[in-house]
Symmetry: C2
Subunit: 351 residues, 2 copies
């Protein structure tokens, strides 16, 4: 075994241990926040939100858990070059972005009428729409409360700034969600409209995760721009990869139906591309009421007409752009490497 | 006309002008916050939230507007004895509680399957459930953003404290809502459970309005306790009055159906009382599937068996308690008088 190979293995082990330490810290923080519901009169409410995360001891099932991408990005970006353990102080903010992400998933599943998520029934399927709406609202409140928990280690000015970025991002998220829902009823969505929609719906929260990390580590405004832009590019790539997996992924791995997006007229990138560049696809699409079988043949048609290739190229290009911004970001080498690995792993993911 | 009478008239006019000035300021602030949605791609989203409030120029219809009780309480409590106009600085917080209240109404109407509010179709009836969930989420984000707007006049520490009270209250609100929904499926709700449910669902936000006012005017912790307690008592009275109006009010005035609560098995105070103290009522109730006609005869049965009187007595007693706490609160005389008038007007309200 040569020296370079050995040092790479050691580095990987150290990085894995660090990421694992971060994930444990995020999960513990989330569980602590959720505990505020684990009280008389609201035990069942606690059970609902606990179920959504699938991280408490009772349900140690990896396949039911989220990927924790957003909170990890936040923590990796929150580390200052002079104090390598400073990410620990930012854990309440990391928990907040994951709480917010899950609030949006709980409501999203109702809005999309999705019966399963992470290989099991969605919250609304288990407890009904009224309680699921309420559980999402509770997660939103807890996300904001978690930001407030930063006050043990940060000055109030920094917390107020974080809160503003955070809630501006929540509002942007709802703007994207508004467009996503509205676009289901509109056939002639332009590529420009698509890009705006996914920027708001997905990229802004990933971007805010990087930005909040940078804010908490005391970076100056120009530097913060890089963190924000890195997150936008990565977030756009992430959503397009999601669009691809939604149509051509493995149902076993994603835990979602591969025909649902077409059946519900979702405007994903392959679809928006196909409506312009594949007359076979467009012709059938415009007639409406696509069945499950037809959805599969339509997704094959999209491959033939280049929609998959087109989408994959965008994922690669956007990830490249994110990585070239990453090079300029001021972070300790091992954190930068972790962000690099995390970004490239999103390219190849199957879930 | 004697002197005392004349001075009372003058005082009433001044108070009315002041309250009117406050309402205008709150509405302007809310409209400004909502404007962030009035942009390319989200015009229709803006239309939804604008519709919920009914305060923009296009819809100058008093009967479609809210009563603004919470933001008025906040502003009246935010005035310090040495600067009578200091309420103006607290307007962003007042707008925040009204935004939050309306977020909860938009979701509540979906959860309760209510077709009308303020004499017209609810948001979900007009735009569908997915968009209405999203509009509520947006209002929640805007409420938090509005708190951040306090930073023009208040120190960051005070804003962080306000945010924590605010989001703790949001979470409590969802606890109450959880119970309210869960109780629809449970027949043997105790009076104790009822009181806890309405404290969380309704009283906490009214209490937080008074508390935030007190925090922003720089009151000390012991004083703040009085403001909070005043709000709790008033809030409980408010909810019971709502229960009464929901069953025996005028549909024209409340804009809501008087049979809906019984039809959907809502656990209001008259019902919880009736289940214990009116065997005629309880017998029919437990059989389920109460029709509209039966609901009317059941609500008459409740009057005969004392449920209306029992509920009205609670409204009067709780309002009395609130008013005796009000006496101890440190506020300029005219603001105290306004809070007194507002509290007693809630006793006699018909909407």
């Amino acid at each position: 075994m040569d020296y370079l190979f050995l040092s790479r293995i050691i580095r990987l082990i150290i990085e894995t241990i660090m990421l694992q330490e971060m994930i444990v810290a995020i999960e513990e923080e989330i569980l602590e926040v959720l505990q505020s519901l684990n009280k008389k009169n609201t035990f069942n409410y606690f059970k609902m939100v606990d179920y959504q995360f699938g991280i408490s001891n009772r349900q140690k099932q990896t396949k039911n858990r989220g990927k924790m991408i957003r909170p990890l990005i936040l923590l990796l970006c929150s580390t200052s070059t002079y104090s390598h353990k400073s990410w620990k102080y930012a854990v309440p903010a990391a928990a907040a972005v994951e709480l917010l992400h899950n609030f949006s998933l709980v409501h999203d599943d109702i809005q999309d009428n999705s019966p399963t998520r992470r290989n099991r029934p969605t919250v609304w399927k288990e407890w009904g729409i009224p309680q699921a709406i309420n559980a999402g609202d509770g997660l939103f409140s807890m996300a904001n409360l978690s930001i407030g928990n930063l006050s043990n280690h940060f000055q109030a000015e920094l917390i107020v700034r974080t809160m503003q970025v955070f809630n501006k991002t929540c509002l942007d998220l709802t703007r994207g969600q508004f467009m996503d829902i509205a676009f289901e009823q509109i056939d002639n969505i332009s590529l420009e409209q698509y890009w705006t929609m996914i920027e708001y719906k997905t990229a802004k929260l990933i971007s805010a995760s990087a930005e909040i990390g940078a804010i908490l580590s005391g970076k100056d405004i120009q530097e913060i721009d890089n963190f924000r832009e890195f997150g936008i590019k990565l977030g756009l790539a992430f959503q397009i990869k999601d669009d691809i997996l939604g149509m051509w992924g493995s149902e076993d791995k994603t835990g979602k139906s591969v025909t649902k997006d077409i059946e519900t007229s979702k405007k994903t990138l392959p679809v928006v591309y196909g409506l312009v560049n594949s007359s076979n696809f467009a012709e059938r699409w415009y007639k409406g009421n696509v069945t499950k079988d037809e959805a599969i043949s339509l997704s094959n048609q999209l491959i033939i007409d280049g929609a998959l290739k087109y989408s994959q190229d965008h994922v690669i290009n956007l990830t490249d752009k994110a990585l070239s911004i990453l090079k300029k970001m001021h972070l300790p080498a091992e954190y930068k490497q972790d962000l690099y690995d995390l970004s490239t792993s999103l390219l190849d993911r199957e879930t």
